[in-house]
Structure formats: structure tokens, C-alpha cells
């Protein structure tokens, strides 16, 4: 599992695409928002936590279709599947690699982009914490969606259609946590709900994704 994780990380950095692309997309979405809404600081500041969350979610979505597709195209997937590593472990390693190359950079970049949307400085730790807790769930859900759509030509659009509704609870709890933090309100149930969601995804989705993978490799 460690070997696979290291290989995927190395590939993401070398191929150049996967690593920087998500971050660049995140930056562009955040830059576009004020063009659409106008430069009013009060308005931007009120939507900043939610907007940053939506942008991070879309950026995480962007890199999902490469997750299994590259290994599928060059024939590495059946070879990986016959290795002594269980498919659940393969899925977990893939999800971890996706988070390390997408979710983690996005989390770290979000506070840096905060000033563009007039995010109050007090909100930074909450935004950072909500993304750090929530983005692993996005990677896990995305891995499940990618496992479902491996063999499908032009599966990218279908992948988005399947994955986006599954992202709803994570987005709601994550953005709510960041918003309450930004407004100086008590965080309440959002934090434990978000954490529970991520842990639940971690516990269950590798099995569902491995089942889908097994069917697709048949």
C-alpha cells in the first residue's frame, strides 16, 4: 500500500498535470467570483467561506477521472488487482494519494486566497479546519465514483453527475462550519457531523469502491 501511495504521488508530481491543475483551477474560480458578483466587500465577505468551499469541491472533482483511468489505459489495473494487496487497500491508497495531491494543497491554499474574497482573518482557522476535516471525504467519495465509471468512454461527465449529489452533505456541513466560524457564532454540531461523515466514508466507501472495481475488472 505504501509502495502504491508513493508511486501515485511521484506520478502526480512528475506528470505535472494532476498536482498543479487542481490548485490553478481553484485560484481561477475564486478570481472569477468577484467578476460575477461585483467588488462589494461586504457581499464578498459574507459569501467567502461558502464560495471557497464550492471552489475547493469543484477543484477536487476535476482530478478524479485520472484516478483509475490512467492505470486502466496502460493496463496496470489488472496487474495491480492480481497483486497481494487487497482491492480495498488499493482503493484506500488511491484515495489517500488523491487527497495528498488535491485536498491537502487546496486546504493550505484556501486561507491564502481568502483576502481575494474579503474573508475576515478570524475565519481563517475555521476555514482551514473545515477543509482539513472535510476534503478527505471528498477524495473518498470521488474514488468510489471513479471506480464505478472506469470502463466507460468519456466517463468524466457521468462521474460528475454521480459524485456531485453525493457531495451535498459534506459541502453543507463543511461550509456551515466555516461560515459559523467566520461569523463568530458557536460552531455547534457542524464540526462533529463533518468529522463523523469523513470517518464514516473512510470506514465504508473503500469496500463499496472495491466491489465496483471488482465488477469492472471482470
Amino acid at each position: 500500500m505504501r509502495a502504491l501511495l508513493l508511486r501515485d504521488l511521484r506520478l502526480a508530481v512528475r506528470a505535472g498535470g494532476g498536482f498543479g491543475l487542481g490548485l490553478a483551477f481553484f485560484l481561477i474560480v475564486v478570481v472569477l467570483v468577484p467578476f460575477g458578483l461585483g467588488p462589494d466587500r461586504a457581499l464578498l465577505s459574507s459569501i467567502a467561506p461558502g464560495m471557497l468551499w464550492v471552489a475547493a469541491l469543484l477543484a477536487a472533482l476535476l482530478t478524479l477521472d485520472r484516478l483509475f483511468a490512467l492505470d486502466h489505459e496502460d493496463g496496470a489495473l489488472p496487474l495491480l488487482a492480481t497483486a497481494p494487496l487487497p482491492l480495498e487497500g488499493l482503493v484506500a491508497a488511491k484515495a489517500a494519494a488523491h487527497w495528498l495531491t488535491t485536498g491537502l494543497p487546496l486546504t493550505l491554499a484556501a486561507p491564502l486566497l481568502g483576502p481575494l474574497l474579503a474573508l475576515p482573518p478570524g475565519a481563517w482557522p475555521w476555514l482551514l479546519a473545515s477543509l482539513a476535516i472535510g476534503t478527505p471525504a471528498l477524495s473518498l467519495i470521488g474514488t468510489f465514483g471513479a471506480a464505478l465509471t472506469i470502463g466507460i468512454r468519456r466517463g468524466g461527465l457521468l462521474l460528475s453527475l454521480i459524485v456531485l449529489p453525493l457531495y451535498v452533505p459534506t459541502l453543507i456541513f463543511g461550509a456551515e462550519m466555516a461560515r459559523r466560524g467566520a461569523a463568530g457564532l458557536p460552531i455547534g454540531a457542524a464540526l462533529p457531523m463533518l468529522a463523523a461523515l469523513t470517518l464514516g466514508c473512510l470506514a465504508l466507501l473503500p469496500f463499496a469502491a472495491a466491489a465496483a472495481l471488482r465488477v469492472n475488472l471482470r
Binding site: L148, T149, I162, V168, P169, I172, E176, V215
Partner: protein, 251 residues
Amino acid sequence: MSLWEYANPKKFTETVTPLIPWVLGLAAICLVASLIWGVFFTPEDYRQGATVKIIYLHVPSALMAINAWFMMLVASLIWLVRRHHVSALAAKAAAPVGMVMVLIAIATGAIWGKPMWGTYWAWDPRLTSFLILFLFYLGYMALWAAVDDADTAADLTSVLCIVGSVFAVLSRYAVLFWNQGLHQGASLSLDAEEHVADVFYYPLLVSIAGFVLLFLGLVLLRTRSEIALRRAAALDRRAEARAAATTGEPA
């Protein structure tokens, strides 16, 4: 004689074919009766006036929209555990019907919402949940359509249906949580089922029965078509294999 005998496609087709006209006929009778009863022979609501009568379409369709997904979940589980093809095909057949039910519920809700709340759409928890359910139906049907091999498609959509069900329930609670965070309680929401008086209640029951029968009839009809399509494909393949065997070419 066990219930599973009907899981044989041929037996299923033979059994349901004579039933379908009866089920659909009964559905039509129930729907027409409840609508006439409801529209012409119930009083107007003291608060909502005549607009309340859309309840006879809105509530049953909303009910069936959720029940259809539940039926798909059960059918998917049966497919994964017992590998009965009829079960997988019934889930496939139910999805478009369920999606249309969601659309009817949302559309009638919007029409009702305009005079009552002054808006076609509000991000009320119940409305939002239905919109999310609609997206789940879309994804499920798109996956069925995208996968070529029938058994692979059945397996993948079943897994999606199970995971989707968990996330649909999660979304429901998340949406409740989210909306309370914005507004104070669900004052906009109309808990129609819980507050209707008896005069509206009985025709509503008949209308619900009509929608259940309509759903059942449509699903049986569509399942039968799906079985016929699978059978045609299987016969094609066998004919090809036979042709290949006579010419000596590998299939």
C-alpha cells in the same frame, strides 16, 4: 411453491402480462374517482381556497417518488444477494417512473407554492431534498445507460443505489440542519399530510391508491419490456454462436 419462482423471466412475463391491464385500469379508476371527488365534492379550504385541491396530485406523487427509490434499493439488494435478473431489471424499470414522480411533485409544489408562499421555489428543506433526490435518479439512470454489458450495469447500479441511499438519508438531515442555520424553523413548510381534515383525507387516500397502482402497473410493464429486450439480445448471441459453429469460424 416459492415466491422466487416468479424471478424466472419467462414465468414472470407469463404471470404479469394478463395482470397489467387490470392494474392500470384500476389505477385509472382510482385516479379519476379521487380527482372528481376531490375537485368537485370537497369544500374549499378556509385559508388556502381552491388551491388546496392540487394536494391530490402533489402528496401522492411525492410519496411515490420516495417509495420508488426504496423499491429500487430493495430490488438492488435482491439482485446482489440472489442474482435474480428480474429484480435488477425491475430496479432499472422503476427509475424513470420514480424520476417522473419527483418532477410531478416538484412541479405541482411550485404551482401550489406561488399562491400560498408567493414564490415558485424556496430553499425549504423538503423542496431541497426532492431536488437532491432528482439528481440521484439522474445519476442512477445515466450509469445504467453508460455501461454496455447488462450484468455489469446491474452490479454497478446496485452498488450505486445502496451507497446513494445512505447519502440520500444523510442529505436529508444535512439539509434540515443547513436550513435551520439560515431561517428560523420550517415555518414555510406545509406539513400537508399531518394537518389535513377528514374531508380532504378520504379522497386523498383513494388518490394515493391510484398512484400506487399506476406505479406498479408502469413498473410491471417496463420490466416486461426490459425482459423482452434482454431475451432478444440473448437470442441474437445464440444465433451468432450457431452460425459461427457451422462455418467453423471462432465466435
